[in-house]
């Protein structure tokens, strides 16, 4: 039977009792003969902190690397010479990919996402304007009882696999045609028609009547009270 000695290691500030307890148990399992010639009270063979983590060769970009948790340096109750800073060691894991989402090509060759609009040279997702001045794209034969702009037929199948009804609800989306996709922004193409006279354009802040959005009709300050009442300041609206 071997003689074991138990060494009391002072608890350093900031170290947790759990880690200290593990250190005590670890030392208690080692024979005293292995410690005597060593003036350093540390165990002779200590697990290297920078041991190579057993990372998988290539993880997906958004998966955290499966590195084993490393013990903080200040939890090792050892007066040995300071070891290399733990955070300067390069991670031996394979280099991860960039932390960017995959680039989406807006006009790829996948034909299953394409909306085949008649007359369009490119089969990208729809670029047709939905301004009231323009005819409705792809709505040459509207369903009976529906007006043209933004009145898709209920239950009309979409080329993208759905229809124009709200999921979980059979109400028709009031202003989006069925072939528009979710989470895609569309800006209607502007066509120049008539323009304001120069004095009126400077007063209204735009040359184009279709971009004229006076206060009280558009924007966040809707309602009978002007923005000045809500937010303070600002110039009174109106042209001389």
């Amino acid at each position: 039977m071997q003689n074991f000695t138990f060494k009391v290691i002072p608890n350093q500030a900031g170290s947790e009792n759990k880690n200290n307890k593990q250190g005590l148990e670890k030392q208690a399992l080692e024979p005293e003969s292995t410690k005597m010639p060593n003036p350093c009270p540390c165990p002779p063979h200590q697990e290297p902190i920078y041991d190579a983590p057993k990372c998988p060769p290539q993880e997906p970009i958004y998966d955290a690397p499966k590195c084993p948790p490393q013990e903080p340096v200040d939890q090792v109750p050892c007066p040995c010479p300071p070891m290399e800073p733990i955070y300067e060691a390069p991670c031996p894991c394979p280099p991860m990919g960039p932390l960017f989402p995959p680039v989406y090509n807006p006009c790829p060759s996948q034909q299953e996402y394409m909306y085949e609009a008649p007359g369009m040279p490119c089969s990208c997702p729809p670029m047709n304007p939905m301004s009231p001045q323009m005819p409705c794209p792809g709505m040459s034969a509207p369903c009976p009882g529906m007006s043209c702009p933004g009145s898709p037929c209920p239950g009309m199948p979409s080329p993208y696999g759905g229809n124009n009804t709200v999921p979980g609800n059979n109400t028709v989306s009031p202003f989006m045609p069925p072939y528009f996709r979710l989470a895609h922004a569309y800006v209607p193409w502007q066509y120049i028609n008539s323009v304001f006279p120069s004095a009126e354009a400077l007063c209204k802040g735009t040359l184009f009547p279709e971009l004229h959005m006076p206060q009280g009709q558009y924007g966040p300050c809707e309602g009978p009270r002007p923005c000045k009442v809500y937010f303070g300041g600002g110039a009174p609206y109106g042209c001389k």
């Binding site: 502007q190 323009v195 120069s198 004095a199 354009a201 400077l202 040359l207």
Partner: protein, 86 residues
Amino acid sequence: MAVNNQCLSLLRRIQQTEFVALELNLYLDTHPCDQKALEKFNRAQQELCELKNQYEQQYGPLLNFGFGKNTGNTWLWAKQPWPWEM
């Protein structure tokens, strides 16, 4: 140099024409082949040049340098009223 209503009116017309040219400039940035907009822009640009020339001949330089020349024997830029004096 005194500022009269005619000077302010001419300045106002310059501002208005500049705004029209700027709006058409922004439109043409995204519609470079729109002939109708190009025609309007060229017309606004020509009118703007005429108005600026008319103003400089009557009331002094609009810019300290870069547009017109200093007519006369004195430095006219410093003699005309500043914007906060108008």
